[in-house]
């Protein structure tokens, strides 16, 4: 490409172009990495809809139900949450232990409360580590105390740190089923083994707690939470499966059934006052969504300066910007076609406006509508030119005529049953009128051939701009990455300083080629 005669005076220009390119690319990558907006269109993200159903029998007095809520954690981001609970007051309490609290003055009989969360599977790190819980002093009656000491001493001797101690401990309960003191503890604490292990770890001054996770499997209903052991080492922590939970033996490894920690700190999952027979069951649904809606939800909630995002606007304005941000792409197409190719159009950016109308009407309907309106308009304009009118009045007459044509076509096509015809109203009427006026004068002065050349050029440009602007990739990139605008600007500046031949000049001057 021949970009101007090179000289040192052009260095600032190239610096500017380079600067714009760098800004554009940096903004785009920042968007991609920091906010996880995918660069690739059609890349989907997984969203889990998880619903918790709390059931209990109320006694008739005031009821307070407190339920643990999932919070952001490695691998998951909570997009939105909602509760359904007729008659109850519902509060979401955040903090280290996020909980949902339903309250009511009086309730009697079987009660059902619902909580629903939309959870996005993401690679984002949650960032904040949970601090370890404080270590509780523990004691056991004999003979269990000595059994505990025995097991702990063995596990302690064969381990190096908190995690390996935990593994050793759990291994003993899993494998040495015949060992006497294990058997003793197993039988006595049959229902409270997880709590026993936590106490044993506390005894060894290792912070630990029982947490509850939900095994996410698409379409499952009435699922229970899985108890897990969470062990801290400083501020780090690790999750351990419990022996005996055979069905979920390899749940941490299963990629298709990821584990969501519903409760992370060892607090009770469900706490009901004023009721009995409480239970909590989960159902979940997986859906793959093409990024778009989720990004929007995610980004609109994150307000900071660098997150300069259209998504922070109300939905209606977003829809408007979706179109506005496409216009530079259409204008870029016009630049390329006029400067590099050398196509002549009637009205420099008229094709972009026509292309915008095509987006609303769809291409074929738009083309047919455009040709119908312009052809009819030219016909009527040829009569107007005989009336000896002043220019402004004549164009006004053309505008009114165009509106009449559009109305007639809409009504006609509707009567015939072609609802497609109604879309003709999306055309910018003033622009159409000017196009008709200009074409008509062109016809009188330069003849029909020039009208065909320029009209054809305009339509070709409009169709190409339409293709570019309706391309899902282009729409995805322009709407989600403001940096693209800088890159387009840099390209336009480069094209603007192109001094080489236009493609059609190679034809025009072909006599010189021999």
């Amino acid at each position: 490409m021949n970009i101007g005669p090179f000289s040192f005076t052009r260095i600032p220009f190239f610096l500017l172009v380079g600067f714009l390119l760098v800004i554009g690319i940096v903004l785009t990558l920042h968007r991609h990495w920091m906010y996880e907006v995918p660069l690739v269109y059609g890349e989907t993200q997984t969203i889990w809809s998880v619903e918790a159903k709390v059931e209990f029998n109320a006694h008739g007095g005031p009821v307070k139900v407190s339920m643990a809520r999932p919070s952001a954690q490695d691998g998951f981001t909570v997009l939105k949450e909602a509760g359904a609970s007729p008659g109850y007051g519902l509060n979401f309490m955040d903090g280290n232990e996020p909980r949902a609290e339903w309250t009511v003055r009086g309730a009697k009989g079987k009660q059902e409360l619902f909580y629903r969360a939309e959870i996005l599977v993401s690679q984002m790190q949650s960032g904040a580590d949970l601090p370890p819980p404080s270590i509780q002093p523990v004691s056991w009656p004999e003979p269990y105390a000595s059994a505990v000491n025995e097991v702990l001493a063995g596990a302690y001797a064969t381990s190096a740190d908190n995690y390996s101690l935990t593994r050793e401990l759990l291994k003993r309960f899993q494998e040495d089923e015949t060992a006497q003191h294990i058997e003793l503890l197993r039988t006595h604490y049959a229902d409270q083994l997880p709590e026993l292990w936590v106490d044993m770890l506390h005894k060894a001054r290792v912070p630990a707690s029982v947490v509850y996770g939900l095994n996410l499997q698409d379409g499952r209903r009435r699922q229970n939470l899985t108890p897990l052991l969470r062990v801290w080492n400083g501020n780090d922590s690790e999750i351990f499966e419990l022996p005996g939970e055979e069905s979920n033996a390899s749940l941490l490894l299963a990629a298709d059934a990821p584990l969501l920690l519903w409760e992370q700190r060892g607090a009770p999952v469900l706490d009901v006052t004023g009721g009995t027979d409480s239970s909590i069951r989960f159902s979940m649904l997986k859906r793959e969504e093409s990024t778009y809606a989720n990004i929007a939800e995610n980004l609109s909630s994150q307000h900071d300066f660098l997150n300069f995002s259209i998504h922070s606007l109300p939905v209606e304005e977003q829809a408007m910007f979706k179109t506005i941000l496409l216009i530079p792409i259409g204008a870029l197409i016009v630049c390329i076609l006029r400067i590099i190719i050398g196509i002549r159009t009637s009205g420099t950016f008229m094709p972009v406006l026509i292309a915008l109308a095509f987006i609303q009407t769809s291409l074929v309907t738009g083309l047919i509508g455009f040709l119908l309106v312009v052809a009819t308009g030219l016909f009527i304009r040829s009569y107007l030119s005989r009336l000896n009118l002043l220019l402004v009045a004549r164009i006004t007459a053309v505008i009114i005529t165009v509106i009449a044509i559009i109305s007639i076509f809409s009504v006609l096509s509707y009567k015939v049953g072609l609802t497609e015809g109604l879309k003709i109203t999306f055309f910018p009427m003033i622009i159409l009128s000017w196009t008709i006026e200009r074409m008509s004068i062109l016809w009188e002065e330069e003849g029909g051939r020039e009208v065909m050349v320029q009209g054809g050029g305009s339509l070709l440009t409009a169709v190409l701009a339409y293709w570019a602007m309706s391309d899902p990739w282009v729409r995805h990139l322009t709407f989600n990455f403001i940096g693209i605008q800088f890159i387009v600007l840099a390209l336009v500046l480069l094209i603007g300083s192109y001094t080489g031949y236009r493609l059609l000049e190679l034809k025009r001057f072909k006599a010189f080629g021999s």
């Binding site: 220019l391 080489g500 031949y501 236009r502 000049e505 190679l506 025009r508 001057f509 010189f512 080629g513």
Partner: protein
């Protein structure tokens, strides 16, 4: 169908993009455009500088004055009506008088006074002007073109386009209207373009619609026999337009009048590129010579500049001189 860009580069062809960036926006300050985009201003400027132009019969500035048109034209045998801000020959009407109510076009078609008035009010409302801004209609005396050029043009006045870069004439061509071009001298409408040797004013090559021709398609005159009278004077007039307009890349449109000799018709700040096809050679090598000139060279008197141009840009004619 297409040729390769490096071939055009080797032949020194100036392309549209390079013309716009390297010549027009480099040598033509934007503020001077109104001088050339408005024919009335150009005409007044030329008159002040002593450059001959077709005599001004009058102007119509307001819609109100359109009704006075008949009075204005009462004693005039022939005239041309032009929009002051028109471009590319748009809206120019050349008429001779028939009677008070009717006028005759070159082609023989009759034009009524009412039609003429409508044309003028179209001009006033900006139909032919750049950007549709309100305009003025200029009425000029008809040119009686030199008899030596008779038979070289069909219905219209043949005009001579000289490209002047920094005051030096670099390339010239004559535009001959044909039946196809409807009496207009626009090459893309089918007029014949004849490249002229800067040194002698002799024809080099003739093209119509991009193809070489040897004879005028309507009159059959051998184009190689074309001789431009008062060539040196014409070039000097063209060269002087540089000082007067201040535009460094200029297309000057001249005509040869039987009575007054070379006259300036209009100036063009964005002259087209087809002149290269009519000359069979590219503008770039010549423009590069001019680019390299010092300010002192540019400040020479017009006659000296023309002499240098005729020396530098002399060419070998491609059309064989007829028997």
């Amino acid at each position: 169908m297409f040729t390769f860009p490096w071939r055009l580069e080797r032949r020194g062809i100036l392309g549209m993009n390079r013309r716009n960036i390297s010549y027009i926006s480099r040598y033509n300050p934007r503020r001077l455009y109104p001088l050339v985009d408005n024919k009335l201003k150009t005409k007044l400027l030329a008159q002040k500088a002593g450059i001959t132009t077709p005599a001004l019969i009058g102007t119509v500035q307001n819609q109100h004055d359109v009704s006075l048109l008949a009075d204005l034209l009462r004693d005039v045998p022939g005239f041309a009506i032009k929009p002051a801000k028109g471009s590319g020959g748009k809206g120019i009407l050349v008429l001779s008088r028939h009677d008070d109510e009717q006028y005759i076009k070159n082609s023989g078609a009759l034009v009524t006074l009412a039609e003429l008035q409508r044309h003028v009010s179209n001009i006033l409302s900006g139909l032919y002007s750049l950007g549709g801004s309100p305009d003025i209609a200029i009425i000029e005396e008809l040119i009686e073109f030199d008899q030596q050029l008779g038979g070289y043009s069909f219905e219209g006045v043949p005009d001579i386009r000289v490209i002047v870069c920094r005051g030096y004439p670099v390339m010239a061509m004559m535009r001959l209207s044909t039946r196809n071009s409807d009496g207009k001298a626009n090459l893309h409408q089918g007029a014949v373009g004849v490249g002229l040797d800067i040194a002698t004013g002799r024809p080099l090559k003739a093209v119509q619609n991009g193809l070489s021709v040897e004879r005028h398609p309507d009159t059959g005159r051998e184009l190689s026999e074309l001789v431009i009278p008062q060539w040196g004077q014409l070039l000097e007039l063209a060269a002087r337009c540089y000082e007067e307009s201040g535009l460094g890349y200029l297309g000057t449109d001249m005509v040869l009048d039987r009575r007054y000799g070379p006259m300036l018709l209009e100036l063009n700040a964005r002259p087209g590129l087809t002149i290269q096809v009519a000359n069979g050679c590219g503008l770039l090598p010549r423009l590069k010579i001019i680019d390299a000139l010092s300010d002192a060279d540019v400040a020479r008197p017009a006659a000296e500049r023309v002499a240098l141009s005729r020396q530098w840009f002399a060419a070998q004619p491609e059309l064989k001189t007829g028997a």
